[in-house]
Symmetry: C2
Subunit: 271 residues, 2 copies
Amino acid sequence: MPDNNQLHPFDQAVKLAAVAPYAYQGHIPQTYANMVGPFGGIIVAVILNGILSHKECQGVPISVTVNFAGPIADAPFALALGLIRTNRSNQHWTAELTQGSEVATTASAVLANRQETWMMSEARAPSAPKPEDVASWPAPSEPKWIQRYDFKFIRGKATLSGQPAKDSESLLWVRDEPERPLDFLSLAALSDVFFPRVFIRRQKLGVAGTVSLTTYFHADDSSLKRQATRPVLAAARGQRFYSGYFDQVAELWSDEGELLASSIQMVYFKD
Amino acid sequence: MPDNNQLHPFDQAVKLAAVAPYAYQGHIPQTYANMVGPFGGIIVAVILNGILSHKECQGVPISVTVNFAGPIADAPFALALGLIRTNRSNQHWTAELTQGSEVATTASAVLANRQETWMMSEARAPSAPKPEDVASWPAPSEPKWIQRYDFKFIRGKATLSGQPAKDSESLLWVRDEPERPLDFLSLAALSDVFFPRVFIRRQKLGVAGTVSLTTYFHADDSSLKRQATRPVLAAARGQRFYSGYFDQVAELWSDEGELLASSIQMVYFKD
């Protein structure tokens, strides 16, 4: 096993030590720190890593839901898994991430033994210039997780000008920084890579935090292998902002126009 | 308490008996039967009913995720709740529905104490003729749950002609049958009222079953009260059908154009 320092920062961050048959311990490093606690996407990835690396795991992920019940402190956490049921074509898991006596995060996931069937891609990737023709965003140094991605905004950049935008949509090319071959863990993390839509629509910072996130995986191993380290095309928009909460709908596309993941999250915000 | 026969079929179906502090027993009647087991929407509603009627419950639902791990037999079930965490602005729950030693369904929900904030409805309701100008669908007698709704299709009806449709979109007015004032439980059930998108796109029946469903509530008590018994405008579409699974994105609108709920589900299918 390589020394920690030789691992990609993403792989360092999702690392878990097995402590019992369905229990792990981990500690998300400061490299993925957000305003309060770690970047949500790395939390999704670390939980999914626990499931996918479990010896009872069967199939590839098709669905993951993570509920963020409270902040995760810069300290070790315990991750407990529940293997709910293994069917012929899918497998159901639950997970709970705790620090001390407090549950910080709950999650559930469905894995599947995919079989070839009729197929159809109905949704179309938004048209976009090639990634090599879009400039990388000079990311601010805080929060730190932002530096773990290469963002190339096509539209819907956070200008924070205070001048409201006409909508909350963003479209961008994004990949791990430094480059890392796409896998289910990094794809899960990428589904949370969008800044809170209220910041984009209002072009000002505020208090916001995801309470629940669901990601569906349409990619399989061959899609991931084809994509390799190239950036994915990422699109997100808010639908309704109301009384402290808004939803945020997102899609992640391969650079060949394949829908790799669709995602939705509910976000708390304060004026 | 009224006699069972005086209750609306929906209220009969979601009825639970408390058997311990965080445990209920229930039995979904045949009035909401689907091909195999009960209609998914009524399962979501019965779980949400357990949470919302619990004495520790604080706030209104903003998010619910249900994972369908196996069929529910026409027999009593046990529903166990977990109150994960109560924060100042929201509350996190988990739930497990079992029959005998088998877990049929797992779920999680987030409730919130909504506070007035900046608001914006970015998504727009699709244009549609008024419900009184659309004919009710002469629903088939099986599966039985279909008769518990009044469907008025504007487009994307299941013709089952075998001639593939150009897309998998449906737009319809829909309400409980007989009429029932909209509440969070019926709104949750309505988020699953759409036939599997693969049936619409291919216009033929097959094997299909939801494995995971997430619904976000944008409505509050005042939105529900305004809507009362009138039909909601319901829209759904599939994005990608691939190797045995497809996603299905949906929105539910009031007849005044207010987004009441947004939803996404992952569905298993076989050719």
